[in-house]
């Protein structure tokens, strides 16, 4: 895959003395939706955190747009368009919806076209426009997830990584959010998804990676993976 926007090679990372990632590798193609799946605790979230720099990798490389960004701090990566919508939303609960979005567009790069992005977010999520003055902590779970994604979009991402989109969401809301992701992808945005709802994730993915024990187990087109019985059982929980 020569048109990989993001290329992760042999990434190693962990918490304190506990190593979680043992040399994981994957690539995200431009304008495609790539999914990482695997059992709870396999290291998917850790992978995303290490990629964006929220966690310092102890080994391996992260190439973004051909540039080695492995050692950059998270805010510098975000400022280049490598953006993570973290697990559990992580909103600024005491701040309003509008302020949360404004923080999303904090970096110099993103603030240049702030108005355009805000417009796009409010078009994608009219609910947020209605509630722009409301504090983020008072939103419903679905609205919070919308805000989390919208805030990520405000960062003008070249690649948007979304961790556990479905966490605690009702199926209807989930459906809507997946539709939005699909829209964004079709619009040309590169997306990396970590998701426990394998059915939904696979339905949308262009390519999927199976992660196990902090390493890459296998990868391929989602249909092919879903057809492999040993993968279904051991890693997908199907």
């Amino acid at each position: 895959m020569s048109d990989a926007l993001l290329s992760v090679e042999g990434l190693e990372a962990g918490y304190g003395e506990v190593q979680v990632l043992w040399g994981i590798s994957f690539q995200a193609r431009r304008s495609a939706l790539t999914t990482l799946v695997g059992a709870n605790g396999a290291g998917k979230t850790t992978t995303l955190r290490a990629v964006v720099g929220a966690l310092r990798p102890s080994g391996g490389r992260v190439l973004f747009n051909g540039e080695d960004v492995t050692r950059l701090p998270a805010h510098a990566k975000a400022a280049r368009g490598l953006v993570l919508v973290p697990e559990g939303r992580q909103l600024f609960a005491e701040m309003t919806v509008a302020e949360n979005l404004e923080m999303g567009g904090y970096s110099k790069r993103a603030s240049r076209s702030f108005a355009v992005h805000l417009e796009r977010c409010f078009t994608l999520f009219p609910r947020l426009a209605e509630r722009r003055r409301q504090r983020a902590g008072t939103l419903s779970g679905g609205e919070q997830q919308m805000l989390a994604i919208a805030r990520g979009l405000m960062s003008d991402p070249e690649i948007l990584m979304v961790d556990e989109l479905s966490l605690g969401l009702a199926p209807v809301v989930l459906h809507q959010l997946f539709e939005t992701l699909k829209l964004l992808r079709d619009d040309g945005l590169t997306i990396v998804l970590v998701e426990q709802n394998v059915h939904l994730a696979f339905a949308l993915s262009d390519h999927a990676y199976v992660v196990a024990e902090g390493k890459l187990f296998t990868d391929g087109p989602p249909e092919a993976l879903a057809d492999m019985p040993e993968i279904r059982r051991a890693y997908l929980g199907l």
Partner: protein
């Protein structure tokens, strides 16, 4: 059979959100009851309501016939109800043995320090931590910490054990081992309430399963009946129809 734990109409809200909503169920002695449901369904909250970390807004919890609603966690532990945490809570600077000794000292047997050492060692060996007895807990791997959680709970000689995702984060071999450990626990006469996402594991371990969704009971029954329940498939396993629909749109 007699009920060891009765949860009656228990409810708990956080800032207007009903985490657990008038939930009732019973665990019989020496049973393994599985508790499943989507993330955020209220499973861990339920554990916290049972062992006294949270006080229920409504309803009662009875353990071995005694009303333990709103009793503080240390009293519940003393009565013989032990638990593990989904996010491991090791006493980091203390060794594996010391961690287990805390469980033994302040558990059901209320052992003096000298005798607790024995119980602690036994529990640590039981879960397979025999060669890490003097390792500070902070230096264990995730799997090791998960095991430590279990060992600490076991050292308390509990009558009822609440297991919160002890299999999460373990590799398939470790999962097999842990399942073996849990089976042997039941043989020792311990009743188990287990939260787990690994469907294979929980289906094979549990005698009965309760499915939670939005803090309410969605279904209850044998593993087989629950797995075939369309409601459960939609809420927890993912809706195949929805999945197919999305797939159609994408690939069209």
């Amino acid at each position: 059979m007699t009920a060891i734990l009765e949860v009656q109409e228990v409810g708990k809200s956080f800032g207007g959100v009903r985490a657990v909503d008038r939930l009732s169920f019973v665990i019989e002695e020496r049973e393994i009851l599985g508790l499943i449901g989507p993330n955020g369904a209220g499973k861990s909250t339920l554990f916290n309501l049972i062992n006294g970390v949270f006080r229920p807004d409504a309803g009662r919890v009875r353990f071995c016939g005694a009303d333990i609603t709103g009793a503080s966690p240390h009293r519940v532990a003393r009565l013989g109800l032990a638990r593990t945490h989904q996010i491991v809570q090791p006493l980091e600077a203390m060794t594996v043995l010391e961690n287990c000794a805390v469980g033994a000292c302040f558990g059901r047997e209320n052992l003096p320090r000298a005798r607790a050492q024995e119980a602690a060692r036994e529990a640590a060996v039981f879960v397979g931590l025999e060669d890490r007895l003097d390792t500070p807990a902070a230096q264990l791997t995730i799997a090791g910490k998960k095991r430590l959680e279990l060992a600490r709970a076991l050292a308390a000689q509990p009558l009822l054990l609440l297991l919160d995702e002890v299999l999460a984060g373990l590799n398939p071999t470790e999962v097999e081992r842990m399942i073996g450990v849990i089976r042997r626990l039941r043989e020792r006469g311990i009743t188990i309430l287990i939260i787990e996402h690994l469907m294979q594991a929980i289906m094979s371990l549990s005698d009965r399963i309760v499915v939670l969704n939005y803090g309410k009971r969605l279904a209850e029954g044998t593993p087989a009946s629950v797995a075939n329940d369309p409601q459960v498939i939609e809420a927890y396993l993912g809706d195949p129809a929805l999945a197919r629909e999305l797939a159609g749109k994408t690939r069209a």
